[in-house]
């Protein structure tokens, strides 16, 4: 379970949630929680159950079994409706009245939730997501990326404690994606807990503290990004020695029984990660071979994801 130091109920918590549509199981025994003030990424290929999990969390869908809690309240609990009001959300497409302007869309949201947000605050928020100058145009005339910005403004209006964003940079150009990612990174500073659902690995790597990996309705991995990367067998070390010592160094390292040792572009490549790299320097020094360099090799999130999911598709490039 993804956890933090706080002992209070986590803002978002899934406890053995299963969701079936007829005979089709879309979520299977999903359990994880999101610590307060963090940005957690829910990563999985299309159809992995991310959006369904969000809908169960917000009470749009009923769980077949298990409980999904937002601010400690599950659907059916007293106070659930008030808890959900504190969540700003976009699931799949931004939900907009297309004949209305961004400002009128936000006014309706403010009225529906009962938040106190005056016109200046609403305009300020729209300016912040890059919509200055288009505040009074119908959102139906906007590009997909601009609608996405209105959707994000909708999610942030009022004083949300939690923001749930499903594919937040969908349709945005690279500059727009960076702006939105920077905005997401600011949210913990405002005390907002954020869950970003995406099939884009770059999104997770650039914005999230933790990640939850889903595949076919199952949670297949969770933890900090480093923890997830460490689950990959991709790793090892690259070692540089003097060219005249290369063959002896390879022989020495092979003799240590540390797995496959190869040479790549003049570097020695050790496939397995050694717990204590000093062990390597010591062994080589005893043979009179001194290191010119040693780098630890890490799996990228993409490599870890592909390995964990058995090659199931997730996109590594924004916009691809």
């Amino acid at each position: 379970m993804v956890t933090a130091g706080s002992s209070a109920a986590p803002p978002i918590e899934f406890e053995q949630v299963t969701k079936r549509f007829g005979k089709r199981t879309v979520l299977s025994d999903l359990s994880f929680s999101v610590p307060e003030g963090t940005v957690v990424g829910m990563l999985g290929p299309n159809g992995s159950g991310k959006s369904t999990a969000m809908r169960v969390l917000l009470g749009l869908y009923s769980a077949t079994s298990g409980r999904a809690r937002v601010l400690g309240k599950a659907k059916g609990d007293r106070g659930f409706a008030d808890a959900v009001k504190r969540v700003g959300t976009i699931i799949e497409a931004p939900p907009l009245y297309k004949r209305l302007s961004p400002i009128d869309n936000l006014r309706i949201r403010v009225a529906a939730t009962g938040y106190s947000a005056d016109d200046a605050e609403v305009r300020g928020l729209l300016n912040r997501v890059g919509l200055a100058g288009r505040l009074d145009d119908p959102v139906g005339d906007f590009s997909l990326g601009m609608r996405q910005r209105v959707g994000i403004a909708l999610a942030l209006v009022g004083d949300p404690k939690i923001v749930v964003l499903d594919e937040p940079t969908n349709g945005l150009d690279p500059a727009g994606s960076v702006e939105i990612r920077n905005l997401i990174k600011e949210l913990p500073g405002r005390g907002i807990t954020t869950l970003v659902c995406t099939h884009r690995l770059t999104e997770i790597e650039s914005t999230c503290d933790y990640a939850v990996l889903m595949q076919k309705g199952h949670l297949v991995a969770q933890g900090t990004l480093d923890e997830i990367r460490s689950r990959s067998t991709v790793g090892g070390h690259r070692i540089q020695v003097a060219p005249d010592s290369l063959e002896r160094a390879v022989a020495t390292l092979t003799g240590l029984g540390l797995g496959q040792v190869s040479v790549d572009d003049g570097d020695i490549v050790l496939a397995r990660t050694v717990d204590d790299p000093a062990e390597l320097t010591r062994a080589l020094a005893q043979q009179g071979i001194y290191l010119r360099g040693l780098q630890n090799q890490h799996a990228s999130l993409e490599e870890a994801f592909l390995e964990i999911t058995g090659g199931d598709h997730a996109e590594s490039e924004a916009g691809s």
Partner: protein
């Protein structure tokens, strides 16, 4: 409820529906000025029939729209995250709908009454203004009820086209067919609604078989509840996007 009022004010369909009703009333008034009737009752009858039809169709449109707006525009998610208590969502929508339809029907009745008054004065025709007001206002409850029925059928069909078709068929087409089966037609919605309006208008023809006002009102309410509840329950229970 404030959000529902805002939608009503900001979105275009309610505005155009109101414009269509009032334009229809004005055109009818103009036609009565050009082609006058022989007596005051004739003016009242024409204007009442037109106003009744216009407000009923408008009520069906507004009821269907109110129930299906979020399904059609993909905004259900934001509505249900702003207010996760679905009963409250429906009550807010229904309350605003009833108030809007009542306001529109009253405005149409007021405009119709004013126009008939002006036209008959111009024509030098004596008119019982009490009768005029009673007949025109008698249409208001029927408009409200039919909007509730359209709302219920909208929740059931989740499509404005579906809701319009089913409600118009039920309210306007089916009664014309069921007239062929008198024992059945006595208990259909349109009969109760017609009898309620006739009683409220004080316009019962001698010898006509008309339900008493309490029975007619009860019949209308039972039909409204029967047609509202299935869609309401579906909305409360289903998984919704």
């Amino acid at each position: 409820m404030n959000a529902e009022f805002l939608k009503l004010r900001l979105l275009s369909l309610p505005r155009w529906t109101a414009v269509a009703v009032l334009a229809g009333v004005v055109v009818t008034g103009a036609m009565l000025d050009v082609f006058p009737r022989d007596d005051g009752a004739g003016f009242i009858s024409v204007m009442s029939t037109v106003t009744s039809l216009l407000t009923e169709v408008a009520a069906i449109v507004l009821g269907s729209w109110a129930a299906t707006l979020e399904f059609g525009s993909g905004t259900l998610q934001r509505t249900l995250t702003a207010q996760a208590d679905r009963t409250r969502v429906l009550l807010a929508k229904l309350t605003v709908l009833v108030l809007a339809v009542a306001a529109l029907a009253l405005a149409a009745a007021a405009a119709a009454g004013g126009l008939v008054d002006v036209v008959t004065r111009q024509q030098g025709i004596d008119l019982d203004r009490g009768d005029l007001a009673q007949v025109l206002l008698a249409n208001v409850p029927a408009a409200i009820t039919v909007s509730v029925i359209a709302f219920g059928l909208g929740l059931l069909t989740r499509s404005i086209g579906g809701a319009l078709t089913v409600t118009l068929t039920f309210v306007l087409v089916l009664p014309g067919i069921l007239v062929l089966v008198p024992d059945v037609s006595r208990y259909v919605y349109a009969t109760f609604e017609g009898d309620m309006t006739t009683r409220l208008a004080g316009d019962v023809a001698p010898g006509a078989e008309v339900h008493s006002l309490p029975v007619a009102v009860l019949g209308v309410l039972v039909w409204a509840v029967v047609l509202l509840v299935p869609g309401w329950l579906r909305f409360l229970r289903d998984d919704l996007k």
